[in-house]
Amino acid sequence: MTDSASHPASPASTQKAPPSRLREFWSSFKENRGAVIGLIVFLGFLFVAILAPLLAPYAPDTQYRDAQLVPPFWQEGGSTRFLLGTDAVGRDLLSRLIYGARFSFFIGLLVVTLATSLGVLLGVIAGFAPRWLDTLIMRLMDIVLSFPSLLLALVLVAILGPSLLNAMIAIAIVLQPHFVRLTRAAVLTERSKDYVIAARVAGGRPIRIMFRTVLPNCLAPIIVQAALSFSTAVLDTAALGFLGMGAQPPTPEWGTMLAEAREFILSAWWVVTFPGLCILVTVLAINLMGDGLRDALDPKLKRS
């Protein structure tokens, strides 16, 4: 892709070299104002997650027994000692939210990596496999998809035992059928194209053709789906935490914090409002970015 002159047979060699794919992608991506905002927010969130111990004024689980349910500083009774107030056992809310960013980022990354790698592997296999294996894989995916995702995740956690790791595994399992379907569909359209036949005629081994020749050309929809799954992962893990089946207290995970705060909804609005707001802003930023990615990577859907 860098130097077309080194391939004398390439018809493009006589023309001006096309802009690199990355640059083309970026120029298309930055046109979308929402996507750029999403990216900035996402990077800010990543920054907070990485530097949490430096940014947080207190440790996330230190309890200040003299300061329980202190309101945020701008409200009567609040002080600048705890900028966003404290929760029912006197922990600084701001510090917990900052550490919570770490969990959400880690959750999103791990769930998407698990779901994508498993889903893409199965999807490529289904796309190339003999008919019976293809049917078997796709029927299995249909079965997973016929359960409402959150319900299946809940039941899987009931089997595995409630913990953050098990919640993430459950959500990855629930998400991966989408990757299988997407990858298989992309592989099937690519498989009959000339360059694949050429690679096969040239004697390329099946594994090489599957993963080196075909898969890179199927990546665009997979990347978009991965970006959008990141937000689903954050949202669903928070939901499981909220139901008591995800991260367990005192983990400063945003959904778990909301669950702990539930009994104070009518007396201390801040313990309920801020964790949810963090989830919303994070998910919104990722979705904005995902929309921009889709517009930039998928020419068919571009600027509709």
């Binding site: 029927r139 249909d142 079965i143 016929s146 409402p148 319900l151 909220f242 959904g255 539930r262």
Partner: protein, 335 residues
């Protein structure tokens, strides 16, 4: 058309078998002895253990247990709830109308707002209205509904005191529920104020549950409309001097609706997943709350039966949607 139906049914049956396998495997995958789990903390004597093992068929080989389980399903036997001692199917049938009522209200609200919003956004493409509507749709789409529901309670029940916090009906009303739908039963009861109470209990859960489908429908309508608005027949209709309302509202929308209807039909799974959270927060006595409560109560017969029945509902609705879609759109039938 017939071959399409047969093909579609041919994928239904193996999926259904797979679902029964998962539901069957569920109790056996739980860590620990299922009978000790069912017995709870008090434990059982050795004779009672053997008796229970025989009663549940755990002394049979696994394939035999599975066959018996499937035969039981076709006889409507999904086990008995350990905490209420009632058949799982009876409990499901009693609670299901509550979920359907909430789900229908949510989908009606989402459609009534989502489709006009999508049309308006598409017609005003790129203008302020479009951007405002689509930004709100994206916020709605990203909303953690368990938090959104809590916010609604804080504002409308706590601060303003307009709506009740939980349940389906005020405690002062008592009447028979022949249909299971509170909106209908309260009218049939003839008690003054009962219908009002039913409506006021429905408002917040409906808004919470409708939010994500609303955003999805608005986005889908907008993109479907944009596709259709570029078509020749729309230009022709415009050139013939029809009013914009007629062109957009009748000619364009009617064709744009096909994918939107599919999205609405296929959102049943999303609705049921959302119902788990919404019903738990508003103490709405439907199947979502029932499942969550049963998981916490370790009432695994209920979880097993509920899992199967909910998957069955989703599968049947998807089947109906697919078949209807095949009727409307001949391209799919050939696929």
């Amino acid at each position: 058309m017939l071959s399409f139906l047969i093909r579609r049914l041919a994928t239904f049956i193996p999926t259904f078998i797979g679902v029964t396998v998962i539901a069957f495997a569920f109790i056996r995958l739980l860590p620990g002895d299922p009978i000790l789990l069912l017995a709870g903390e008090r434990g059982v004597s050795a004779e009672r253990y053997a008796e229970l093992q025989h009663q549940f068929g755990f002394d049979q080989p696994v394939w035999r247990q599975y066959i018996d389980y499937v035969i039981g399903i076709f006889h409507g036997d999904l086990g008995t709830s350990f905490s209420t001692k009632r058949p799982v199917l009876d409990e499901f049938m009693q609670l299901f109308p509550a979920t359907v009522e909430l789900g229908l209200c949510a989908i009606v609200l989402a459609t009534l707002i989502g489709i006009p919003a999508g049309v308006i956004a598409a017609v005003n493409r790129g203008k302020f209205f479009d951007q405002a509507l689509m930004s709100s749709a994206l916020v709605g789409y990203s909303m953690p509904i368990f938090w959104w529901a809590l916010l609604l309670i804080i504002v409308f029940s706590g601060t303003l005191g307009w709506t009740p916090v939980s349940g389906r009906m005020g405690l002062q009303y008592y009447f028979d529920t022949p249909t299971g739908f509170m909106l209908i039963d309260s009218l049939l009861s003839g008690q003054s104020g009962a219908f009002r109470s039913a409506v006021s209990h429905l408002i917040l859960p409906t808004i919470a549950l409708a939010t994500i489908p609303l955003a999805v429908i608005a986005r889908q309508t907008r993109s479907a409309m944009l596709e259709v608005l570029g078509e020749d027949y729309v230009r022709t209709a415009r050139a013939k001097g029809m009013s914009p309302l007629r062109v957009n509202g009748v000619h364009a929308l009617r064709n744009a609706l096909i994918p939107v209807v599919t999205v609405i039909g296929l959102s049943v799974g999303t609705l049921l997943a959302g119902a788990i959270l919404t019903e738990t927060i508003f103490s709405w006595p439907g199947i979502g709350k029932w499942m969550v409560d049963s998981i916490f109560r370790r009432d695994y017969q209920v979880v097993q039966g509920g899992l199967l029945l909910i998957a069955l509902v989703v599968m049947i609705v998807n089947l109906i949607v697919d078949v209807l879609y095949g009727f409307i759109n001949p391209k799919i039938r050939k696929g």
